[in-house]
Symmetry: C2
């Protein structure tokens, strides 16, 4: 038995007592809770917690309940749906005007103060020790949390130094956190946009860019803006109602191509829906942008390059005896922390290995390789003449 | 109750008696058979038959057993596996040399004489009344069948006038049948290549092209041949051992692009694996062909065009109020036959409607539209601003 598993079993008995309290807090019958929660422990963050692996009635997947003296809640971040066509979509889902905020390409985290410490939770509802550690460095002394114990910051972590997604932004190359929502921890309800912006200003917190307000009957300007963002290597927008009663996302084809290029490098480790959805998405944008034949040719060529070139590079690398991996860096406070965190990643099914350890004034930097066994194995097999597994 | 269903139920009792005979013929316990067969009837071809919906032990999916006075068998056509890399694949699966036959892009049928009449069965093991009718026109008087009642012709139907696949070949624009294998109906065993070719010559039957014999250690010539076939709008090759103990298929990227272009027109009606496999396939060929940067750009652009342009065309057409359909023509001996056949197609889940009926000296030509509800509905929904169903 894995030591973590043993600890879980021992402590599950105690935590079962909390189910009634948790159910009361969220308005769900405790029996319903039992089936859908997963009990998690985290060496770094000592309070055990439930995470919701699926939606349960009105409670979103990713909701977390910390089981301290009394339960502490962090509601899941709701799914923001995607528009395929702006021209009809704006008027269909929004009244009069929408505010466009930049959608950044990183990973979604929620941050709150739990039992006196900041904790960062990923979209799926797992405490991320790495993000928690880095966020504490930045925000531990911010008065937002003591002043607003019932609120959480929802935002995007971007930059090259994280284990999930490595896209650098000029404004934050290594590790940046940009707030997009401030929400009530228990109800999940977001602050209206103006209140959120006032709050961010008051506490000196970094928010995602507000790109302006657009009338719903003029989608052209918005589409042009999104495509300019794409040209600048940025992802797209989240469209919001000022009251936060409606949200929608829309992204640039150039960003979709970057995703494709990245994922096709590991073509057998990504799901087929990942690829398919993006191909369809690009066609709707190419249509709506009203591209002429020549522009359409260019758009098609860019798409084709994002598919074919990364796969050919992968095949060439593996043919020459190399392993195709994803390389990234992590900044950790100690080697013990680094080891524990990488073990946590392996526990989550991510295969990683440390390539290089360097120290600088700010601490330790680990150069980490993420392994993609399926892509490497399959490519080797095909190069060795094995039949296609169709 | 559908009249066909009622007939099936009435006649299933009788046919159950045949199970022991069928099992004996194929070497399978009758109980095993019961679960995996589907009893089919066909208004046009009056003998009821079992078809194997799945592999059962050594008996392939698609195997058909006609239940006349005594059972008559047509074993399923075996799956021919695909090579992703010729250079290693040839030597791995073949000895010394391979014979390359052209792989044509149509649909696979098996033809045999059953109870005194020719019958054409599709890959899945369904009698196709349309193909049967057309094949009878061509082959009914051929001495092959009376001379060889235990054999079946396995071949590709190509051309524009069929309900399954519409690709025209210069040598057969409307309806052509090209034999690739001659097999024993009961064992499924193929004749060695030389015997097959002698047989085709003897009976004046049209076979797929033999493109030559290639040493297994010289894959370059073969790859160049396949890519030339692609340039000519043709699909690729089936590689065979002279004794027919091994087979493999390999196709040109240009042909893969045609498939993609066709399928992306109906992007929501084709399965995601259909798209994904083809993208991966193209990368292996681009790698193996040793394309330089410029050639790779061209290959990528062609791929991108095959994805983006058909989807944009579809979206434009639907945005302008049209329905995106597949149009094809069928030549039928009578309107009764045409109606019955289209009903048969609907029964198989294919939505069709007749657009135009014309008569010429050879009979009746139906202009048929095949409908693709999923692509049309989804595109309309996205154009109306509905959120993406991800």
């Amino acid at each position: 038995v894995h030591p973590l598993r043993a600890a879980e079993e021992g402590r599950a008995m105690d935590t079962d007592r909390s189910l009634a309290q948790v159910g009361a807090g969220l308005g769900i019958a405790p029996e319903k809770l039992k089936k859908c929660k997963e009990l998690c422990f985290n060496e770094e963050f000592s309070i055990p917690y439930f995470r919701f692996k699926h939606d349960v009635e009105h409670v979103e997947k990713g909701t977390v309940v910390f089981l301290g003296q009394k339960p502490e809640f962090m509601r899941g971040f709701p799914k923001i749906r995607r528009l395929m066509t702006l021209s009809a979509g704006l008027g269909r889902h929004f009244k009069d005007r929408v505010i466009a905020e930049e959608k950044m390409n990183g990973y979604n985290v929620r941050i709150a103060m739990v039992a006196g410490s900041l904790v960062a939770v990923t979209r799926g509802g797992l405490v991320c020790p790495y993000t928690t550690e880095n966020i504490r460095h930045r925000l531990a002394s911010n008065a937002f949390f003591p002043d607003n114990p019932g609120l959480m910051l929802c935002g995007e972590v971007v930059g090259l130094m994280n284990p999930y997604q490595t896209k650098s932004y000029p404004e934050e190359k290594e590790f940046g956190f940009f707030v997009f929502d401030i929400r009530d921890r228990l109800s999940g309800k977001p602050l209206p946009l103006a209140d959120k912006e006032a709050m961010l200003r008051k506490y000196g917190l970094q928010g995602v860019k507000n790109l302006g307000t657009f009338p719903v009957n003029d989608s052209k300007k918005l589409l042009a803006l999104v495509r300019r963002l794409g040209d600048d290597g940025r992802e797209g927008v989240v469209l919001k109602d000022a009251s936060m009663s409606q949200q929608a996302k829309y992204t640039a084809n150039q960003s979709t191509n970057s995703d494709l290029e990245y994922a096709f490098t590991f073509f057998s480790d990504y799901g087929q829906p990942f690829f398919y959805r993006r191909l369809v998405r690009e066609a709707f944008q190419a249509y709506e942008a009203g591209l002429n034949d020549e522009q359409l040719e260019k758009e098609a060529a860019a798409l084709g390059r994002s598919i074919l070139l990364p796969m050919v590079r992968t095949i060439r690398a593996i043919a020459s005896g190399k392993e195709v991996t994803e390389d990234f860096e992590l900044r950790v406070p100690s080697m013990d922390f680094g080891d524990a965190f990488l073990e946590h990643m392996e526990h989550l099914g991510v295969r990683v290995s440390v390539q290089k350890i360097t120290e600088d004034a700010d601490g330790i930097v680990l150069r980490v390789k993420r392994h993609y066994p399926s892509t490497n194995d399959k490519t080797r097999a095909y190069l060795a003449g094995e039949f296609c597994q169709e």
